[in-house]
Each structure stands twice: as C-alpha cells, then as structure tokens.
Point group: C2
Chain length 129, copies 2
DNA sequence: TTAAAATTGATAATAATTACTATTTTCAAT
DNA sequence: ATTGAAAATAGTAATTATTATCAATTTTAA
C-alpha cells in the first residue's frame, strides 16, 4: 500500500533546483531545459519535465498553471499569487496578501472538500503598456 | 486596421450554443464534439474548436481554464468562480460572490494594467469524497 | 439571383508533454 | 572500498490536445 520510494539525488535535479533559485521570473520547462544545457549539455528534456513534476509534487517548488499557456515554475514556495502578461507572456509575483482562509470560506458554501485555490491575474505588464 | 468581419450564422455553431445552454456541467471541447455528433453526425472536431474559440472571444460563452487540464465551456456568461475535482475532473459552479473590485484592488500594488482575474478552487466533489 | 465572404469537413501539421527502455548513477549494507 | 538493488538518466518514440490548410459548401446582403 504505502508506496515507499527512496529518493536519490542526481546532478541533474540539483542543477534544476539551483537554477530556479537564481531566477525570479518563474521559467517554463523549456527555458529550464535550455539554461541547464549550458551546464549539463546532454541533459534530456524528459529529465527536466520529470524532475519539475517530481519536485512540485514533493512541494520543493511551485508549479504555476497559466490559463492554457505553458506552466511556469517557482522556487519560492511561499503561497502567493501571480500575474501573466497577455502580450509578452511574462509571469510576475503579485504583492497581494495570500488569503489563507479562502478555502475554508469557500468550503462553507460548497458540498465537497476544497484543498486549495489558484488565483491568476491577467493584463499587461509595465514593459508592454 | 479595423478588421471588420461579418459573422454569418451556421447550423453547427447554433447547435453548439444550444447544446451548451442545456448543460450545467461545463463540458470540454471533446464532449461537445461527441454530443453534437448525435445531431450533426459529420461535424468536424476542428469546427467545434473553431466555434468554441470564436464564441468565447465574442463573449457569448465562457472559456474556463482548469489548471493544465482541458478547458471547459460555460453558456452562463455571468462572471462566477469554479471548482475542479482532482479525482473525477468534474467542474462545478461556486456560489461565492464575484469580486468585481478585485482587479482594481490588485492593480493598486502592481506596476501594469490588470484586466481580469481567474480564481479556481480544487479539491474533491461530494461524489468523490 | 448572384457573388463575395464566412464557414465547413477532412486531413495534415504542430506543440507540449509523457512513455519506453537500455544504460548509468546513487547509496545503504556489507 | 565493494556490491547490488533501486532510482535516475539520455535518447527516442508515442501520445494528446489543439491549430492550420484548403477546396467545397453555405450564408446573406445587394
């Protein structure tokens, strides 16, 4: 039952995490791939996808769904909201306080269990205005 | 400049809108396709995608992005929030009041223009609990 | 009725992501 | 340090959802 699975470190995964920590712009999988390739030239794109998925499932990074566009990834795991520019596609942090009680509040009027919420703002960033 | 484009009605598009209006569960494009096929057997999947895109761009229906899963479509165009079940994937309406001032509020702490926001709740529906 | 433009069905193409598999790497127990 | 089982990888193939293409059909204003 309890699928015990030992996690072993890898140079590739360490590099992905280290790279994400240097960036504030929440790169996509393909950007991570291109950048890591400058360090580990023969890393596979599948490896990048696999590790981004594993890391976000473990809670070591955040996966940011962006309304149909490609997911972005964030090494800052503190819950916070994001903005996506409809022109250039950049993703930025919002300074709004995170609504910790939002799920509980929403649950009061919902027949089921609410485990989380995702709030994404859209518009145009200052560079695109 | 102003791309004036006359819209002509079509049996296929009328059928898609009519179908969506009979449903409260916000179907995906492929569900729309399967259902419309019982009325118009040789309708093309491309036609369904094309019309769902056109209709949502015109504001006649809502496109609901669902955190990486397939988009769902809603004939009820009054702004409201949604929930997606992480087990069965169903999408349901939330009864929460829509925050009309959210974009303006968020704009106060953001250097750019915010045109809209998308709030999606996740968890388990009552059938899946 | 007619003709220009929108729409369609059928199919091909694309883009993003996942699956597969033989090989390599990691690491706990010797 | 050595070993061996499990995890991870590179490279590639396959899949999935969606969009593009285009000749033929349909719509609608004049």
């Amino acid at each position: 039952m309890a699928e015990k699975t030992t996690i072993k470190r890898s140079r590739q995964r360490d590099a992905i995490v280290a790279f994400l920590k240097t960036r504030k712009d929440h790169p996509t999988a393909d950007v991570v791939y291109q950048e890591i390739r400058t360090i580990i030239p023969n890393i596979s794109l599948g490896t990048v996808y696999r590790n981004l998925a594993q890391l976000s499932e473990r809670g070591d990074i955040l996966r940011l769904p962006c309304d149909g566009k490609m997911d972005h990834f964030d090494a800052d795991i503190r819950p916070h909201y994001h903005f996506i520019c409809n022109r250039c596609g950049c993703v930025k942090d919002m300074e709004l306080p995170y609504a910790n009680n939002m799920d509980e509040l929403a649950g009061n009027t919902f027949d089921g269990i609410i485990t989380k919420h995702n709030l994404l703002f859209e518009g145009y960033c200052k560079e695109c205005m």
